[in-house]
């Protein structure tokens, strides 16, 4: 059958952008790394790698140790007052920018916090605490969605056979979540191994630093591009390995779990089960709620609408909008072809995955080296931040756009060809009405990611080029923590407003 062939010129432009951006990041790093050879792999690099793996491994273990029982408790107790609210609460840490959550964690567990002294917040303990805060909800939501997929008959059968909690765990629950637990563990490990904001703010000097942050420090504090490129190579190898394992595993979590109608359960009615589940839920609430409450409570009194805050707000929104537009401009032409041709689908998958395997700090190192001659050029920093944020959001934009476009192609291609409808008029009359919600959703998601970014802005920002997360970090660093809380609240309000919009759009799709 003759298939509809959209124009390929925009796709080649998008690919050209990706190739230039990635090679400009990768080649100088590789060149400088090879030049040093093995001598570059000094004990410092190994120490940083060791800590990166250690904190990511411990964070993963702790997140699953609470996330798995939490998911089981929420699945087993399928109706209790406040369950819906609790599920909403689980979404919050994932929607909020890392720097905002860190402010909340410090406000509660920091030296002068409500629970000050409970943990040593600067160093490994603080890093683990913040990572657990983000990843317990993530792991719980992913595993919960596996548990909710168990067919109703399995619960009826278990009830009729009189299976106890241990037999149900062994026969029904564990087989259903086994692969999901492995996938969640891998995802959490990947996120923690490349986490930037948490380690930057809570890490304590060279003893508690990760590859991502060490690269930043080599570039911005020590002006040592050689060390940065060595670290970047190690980080690249680590991320590529993890991404390949994940890919072989059948991909990481396939999209955000949707709430579905829950089959009725007959177990978990005994007093012991209820107490156990209640205890785990209470523990999760104790972990999640205080930092969020502290942020909202203390932030309200410290919003200072200074000129600097307003400028940072405008810069954040401007950069976010630009990087969302750029990400869309890259993904759209590729996606339009990918839904109609197997070859282009491969190209698009590789392009999107490549942008994701290359960790931002490693990419930045290359760009830094490439563009060192042009440093200080006005506009260059802004463009680099926009480009980096756009690259980071490509997978999310693609995940939203592809299914919508595939549906549109399947439904309309033959009719459009028979009517001779193509190009702009086809886009306006046929594509746009069908996919406009997906377009909106993908733009908002890219915008949210960019609004929360601290990595790119830390690497390329300057004294006068400040976004909200950078402003928060700066206020924290200059002992104006109260102002930082106020700024964090402004940023969270902004992000939550956009994510509410996104949720509404995705819900109706």
């Amino acid at each position: 059958m003759i298939a509809y062939r959209p124009s390929r010129a925009p796709a080649y432009a998008a690919l050209a952008f990706l190739v230039v951006a990635l090679t400009a990041g990768f080649l100088p790093v590789l060149g400088m790394g090879l030049e040093q050879g093995l001598s570059g792999l000094d004990p410092y690099v190994f120490r940083v790698l060791r800590f990166t793996l250690l904190q990511a491994g411990l964070s993963t273990l702790l997140s699953l140790a609470l996330g798995l029982p939490l998911a089981r408790a929420l699945a087993r107790q399928s109706s209790f007052p406040g369950r819906g609210l609790l599920l909403q609460l689980l979404n919050l840490p994932l929607a909020l920018p890392a720097i905002v959550v860190i402010i909340g964690v410090i406000e509660v567990y920091g030296a002068r916090g409500w629970l000050g002294g409970l943990f040593d917040i600067y160093g490994l303990q603080g890093i683990l605490l913040a990572h657990v805060f983000f990843n317990v909800p993530l792991a719980a939501r992913l595993i919960l969605s596996d548990l909710e997929r168990i067919p109703a008959e399995s619960w009826k059968l278990s009830a009729q056979l009189g299976l106890g909690p241990r037999a149900i765990w062994r026969l029904v629950e564990w087989p259903a979540v086994r692969s999901g637990v492995a996938g969640a563990a891998l995802l959490v490990f990947l996120l923690c191994a490349s986490s930037f904001a948490v380690v930057l703010t809570l890490g304590g000097g060279p003893r508690a630093t990760t590859l991502e942050v060490a690269i930043y420090q080599s570039l911005r504090s020590d002006f040592d591009p050689q060390r940065a490129s060595m670290l970047a190579l190690v980080q690249l190898a680590l991320c590529a390995t993890l991404a390949l394992i994940a890919q072989a595993w059948g991909g990481l979590a396939a999209g955000w779990p949707m709430l579905r109608l829950q089959p009725k359960r007959y177990d978990g009615r005994s007093m012991t089960s209820r107490l156990l589940d209640g205890g785990i839920v209470a523990l999760a609430i104790l972990l999640l709620l205080p930092p969020l409450v502290a942020l909202a409570g203390a932030g309200l009194f410290h919003i200072n609408p200074s000129a600097l805050l307003l400028r940072a707000l405008a810069t954040s929104i401007g950069l976010g909008a630009a990087s969302a537009a750029l990400a869309f401009a890259v993904v759209w032409p590729l996606a339009v072809l990918a839904v109609r041709s197997g070859a282009w689908r491969k190209v698009a998958t590789i392009a999107v995955l490549a942008s994701w395997i290359v960790p931002p700090a490693a990419l930045a190192t290359g760009w830094f080296i490439s563009l060192i001659a042009y440093a200080g050029m006005t506009g260059l920093a802004a463009f680099l931040v926009i480009a980096m944020n756009a690259l980071m959001s490509l997978p999310f934009v693609a995940r939203v756009l592809m299914p919508a476009l595939a549906q549109s192609a399947e439904g309309h291609d033959r009719l459009c060809m028979s009517l001779g409808l193509s190009g702009w008029s086809r886009f306006r009359l046929v594509e746009l009405p069908v996919v406009k919600r997906a377009i909106g959703l993908s733009l908002v998601m890219a915008l949210i990611l960019s609004l929360g970014d601290l990595t790119a802005i830390s690497l390329f920002g300057t004294q006068d080029f400040v976004t909200l997360p950078a402003l928060i970090y700066r206020q924290m660093g200059s002992y104006r923590f109260d102002e930082a809380i106020g700024t964090a609240l402004v940023l969270s309000a902004l992000v939550l407003a956009f994510s509410t919009l996104a949720r509404r759009w995705s819900g109706r799709q």
Binding site: E153, K156, A159, Q160, L161, Y266
Partner: protein
């Protein structure tokens, strides 16, 4: 044998009311339009749903407050009757002891039940390695070893082809007669009722409008809903 004493139950917009006595040691088919409450009827007997009002009695004993595992009932569903990572033998054995720790006599019973449904040679396979019909046979074998006087079937063979479905019905029918079971089977196929059931109930909008011998029910002219439900089938099928 199974008596629903003025049982009421509400699901979404459908208010159901069952007042019925299923004859002892018999095979009753339940037919009727989708969404009328056929599965709910079985769920109430098995204890998967609790009535708002009324009582459920089995063999004269009030079981309304009993949990599913303490009722003298086995149930076979249309799908998902097996645990995917236990082999067929274990899937039957779990009907005797959830711990799977069986003594020699119990093991013999499991072997015999599997042989009885024609799965003797496949007992070490996993459910994923056998056909859909064979998985349903596992459920029948488990019902055999559980040896409860009441057997409920919820469209158990709907996914099978005509010949296989007939085989399975014959299997359940002979089991019902050999063990003296009381069987209630929900089905969408009138010919299933004709092939296996001594009695047939017609259920519509949450009410059992008739429970008669199968021949009488299919010959009835006093049930307009049944006429519409069966449609052309009656003129061509009989």
């Amino acid at each position: 044998m199974i008596r629903l004493d003025d049982v009421t139950f509400r699901y979404e917009d459908l208010q159901m009311r069952f007042d019925v006595d299923f004859p002892s040691v018999s095979f009753t088919a339940v037919i009727g339009p989708s969404g009328g409450g056929k599965s709910t009827l079985l769920n109430l007997i098995a204890g998967f749903e609790a009535p708002e009002q009324g009582r459920v009695l089995i063999a004269g004993a009030d079981v309304t407050a009993l949990p599913p595992d303490r009722r003298p009932v086995s149930m076979i569903f249309q799908d998902n009757n097996v645990f995917a990572h236990l082999d067929l033998w274990q899937n039957v054995a779990i009907g005797i002891a959830p711990s799977l720790k069986l003594d020699a006599g119990q093991r013999k019973r499991v072997d015999a039940a599997l042989a009885g449904v024609g799965l003797g040679a496949l007992m070490r396979r996993k459910p994923g390695e056998v056909s859909g019909g064979e998985r349903q046979r596992v459920a029948v074998a488990r019902a055999l070893v559980r040896d409860r006087p009441v057997l409920l079937l919820d469209e158990p063979f709907a996914a099978l082809g005509p010949a296989l479905r007939r085989d399975m019905l014959d299997l359940v029918k002979s089991m019902q007669q050999a063990r003296g079971l009381t069987v209630v089977m929900v089905t969408h196929q009138p010919e299933d009722a004709l092939a296996a059931a001594s009695h047939t109930a017609y259920l519509e909008n949450g009410r059992i409008l008739a429970l008669r011998s199968t021949a009488e029910l299919f010959a009835a002219r006093d049930l307009p809903g049944l006429e519409a439900y069966l449609g052309d089938w009656r003129s061509t099928g009989l």
